[in-house]
Amino acid sequence: MSSASGSLPRYILVRLALVLPMMWVLLTVVFILLRVAPGDPVSAAVGGKLNQEALDARRATLGLDRPLITQYLDYLGNVAHLDFGKTISDNRPVLDIIKDQGGATLTLTLGAFLVAMVIGLPLGRLAGRYRDTSADAAIRVFGVVTYAAPIFWTGIMFVLLVVKLFPGWPTNDIASVVTKFEVTPKSHILLFDAALEGNGSAVSDILKHHVLPCLTLGLLLSGVIIRLVRINVIQAMKGDYVEAARARGISERRVVRYHAFRNALVPVITVIGLQVAITLSGALVTERTFNWPGLGTELIQYVTARDYIAVQGLVTFFALIVVVVSVFVDILTALVDPRVRY
């Protein structure tokens, strides 16, 4: 029965210590998956353009002629130094791709998450509290439709709608040409850089460009959140402590907000954390739909080019992101729920 606040740092330490084994497992899976895929990466990427000697030389420089175990250990060692290799097709360090394009994907996914929360949490709570009313039915249909609609379709519908209603509203790319020219990249997060320079018109231009892609990706996620929050609120409203709170005369508003909703959020946080992987794959399609200069667009290009080092590097990076987010979610859960800290 140690004090609850004392065990929180220990809990966080344990979680952080688990990061390394988790990453190791993920990296191993990524490595194996890419080797299992049939075909030789070098001939796939640049085959037909070079003669046999040149191809062999490329294989040798990439170390693909060495035994698998050596390649595996090399791969792990390089990732530990944040070295994701150089692309085969255009000889670019993968880390540079991540630095240059990662910012666009970051602001897109964060924006989408924000949209999903702003839409999903209140609607889910409303539907859960007023269960089986027409409002609940409408919200549930909304949740199913947004979740079931393919991203590219939602995106195209939005574009068509916006072009008709607000002509001139940006429907692709992260910023206008002028803004891209004006803002000098420092952090490579365009929105951040523009804000840092105090360039108000650039910030508003970039934000406008974010609206449609974030809405498209955010709506998909909001469907999941609505259903999750709704069912958890319904569960929590049946909770014994909710009835006990009512028996103490606590106002219904407070009962819903502080007793039912807060408890309903605990499992929701966990599942939202798991949605990060889905969000990243959703971001891929969203970026493609809106011609967004992010990692998804890059990844699709390199997959098409069969650039195996680039794909391996980017997929590794995505895997690391998922690990980091899952640890972050665990810590967040512990902050909200004292029972988790043990």
Binding site: M1, S3, A4, G239, D240, Y241, E243, A244, A245, R246, A247, R248, G249, I250, S251, E252, R254, Y258, H259, R262, N263, V266, V336, D337, P338, R339
Partner: protein
């Protein structure tokens, strides 16, 4: 209704007028099969500082009665009849006014203490939330003083005030729940099987605390239980409930030593103690409350059933020594009514099964 005679003052000179009066109180739930009449015409009164035990089998309406008194019923439930709390007509109150009474004047202690505290809130937050709800201007110091005061009475050390619910054992959590109920000093508390989920040693401790409540807080208590030992231990009076009705009510000692109603008698015979040699039980199961048996609801299971029991509902009568009961057989035994031979003849077996099916 005839007014109930009350001793206006007890030995210490404290006013012992009724805190709570129920007259012909009904509570029912709407279901697909029709209304479930969980409480069907219940009358009783509770004096200040008095502990009334409420016993009966599972599903006889005990918990519904307890919650009905507080207006703590689910959607689709309704109340009718007369319910007065400190002279106020409870059924005429708006939901808002009634909500305001809960916690402040009416309290509830539940069966499962483990799940009754919000796991995300510290004990201190439970107390400040409750106190603030009923007194917006209460100061932090006052909250802490009042909370620690009642926790001390419950034997919870002040060092645990800021702990979370999961850091306490079951018995401690029930004491926390009792403290949380008593911090508002309500005049009337319903305790719904407060010890059912706890082990026997903790049970004895909780019962002692409840028994001593009136000394510290002058609280009237409705103690719902199916454990007759607890009633004998803690209660002044006892009400026996069967199929939504109170079939017998009186001083606990009197009811236990001279039960009038056959159901009370059978219930007492079914008690298991160290001296029990054979197990007794009452044949059959409590009736379906959507469609209860006609006349006396106990007659299909009653060993003393007469013809009249299946034809006319028994009348709630004074059986002396402060006991009231609703039973034809008891009436006859006490010489309160005269029945003709046909009515007084034992109910034939065949008719029991017919009535059972009805």
């Amino acid at each position: 209704m005839t007014p109930i005679e009350l001793e206006e003052q007890d030995a210490t000179g404290v006013d012992r007028g009724p805190v709570l009066e129920a007259r012909d109180l009904r509570v029912w739930y709407g279901t697909d099969r029709g209304p479930v009449r969980a409480v069907d015409g219940v009358s009783f009164e509770l004096r200040r500082g008095e502990i009334l035990g409420l016993v009966g089998e599972s599903g006889c309406g005990k918990s519904t009665l307890g919650r009905g008194l507080l207006g703590l019923l689910p959607d689709g439930a309704a109340r009718d009849g007369e319910l007065r709390f400190q002279g106020r007509d409870m059924l005429a109150l708006k939901p808002r006014e009634q909500h305001a009474l809960r916690g402040r004047d009416l309290g509830m202690i539940f069966q499962e203490p483990l799940t009754r505290l919000n796991p995300l809130m510290r004990i201190s937050e439970h107390f400040s939330e409750t106190l603030r709800t009923h007194d917006k201007s209460i100061s932090k110091a006052e909250i802490e003083r009042r909370s620690l005061d009642v926790l001390r009475v419950m034997g919870i050390p002040p060092t645990r005030f800021r702990a979370y619910p999961h850091e306490f054992s079951g018995g401690m959590r029930q004491r926390l729940m009792i403290a949380l109920t008593l911090v508002m000093r309500p005049a009337f508390v319903v305790a719904d099987e407060p010890t059912t989920a706890l082990d026997v040693l903790v049970e004895a401790q909780i019962i002692r605390i409840l028994h001593d409540l009136r000394r510290e807080y002058d609280t009237s208590l409705l103690l719902i239980t199916h454990n007759l030992g607890i009633i004998a231990e803690a209660c002044d009076r006892v009400a026996v409930m069967y199929a939504g009705e109170i079939v017998e009510i009186g001083e606990a000692r009197e009811v236990f030593s001279r039960p009038r109603h056959p159901y009370t008698r059978e219930l007492l015979r079914s008690t298991i103690s160290l001296r029990t040699t054979g197990l007794n039980y009452i044949e059959g199961a409590p009736p379906d409350l959507v469609d209860p048996p006609p006349a006396c609801r106990f007659h299909p299971r009653c060993p003393d059933a007469m013809n009249v029991c299946a034809q006319r509902h028994p009348v709630d009568r004074d059986h002396g020594a402060g006991t009231r009961a609703a039973c034809w057989a008891a009436d006859v035994a006490q010489g309160l009514v005269k029945l003709d031979d046909r009515e007084a003849a034992p109910l034939p077996r065949g008719e029991i099964s017919v009535a059972d099916e009805a």
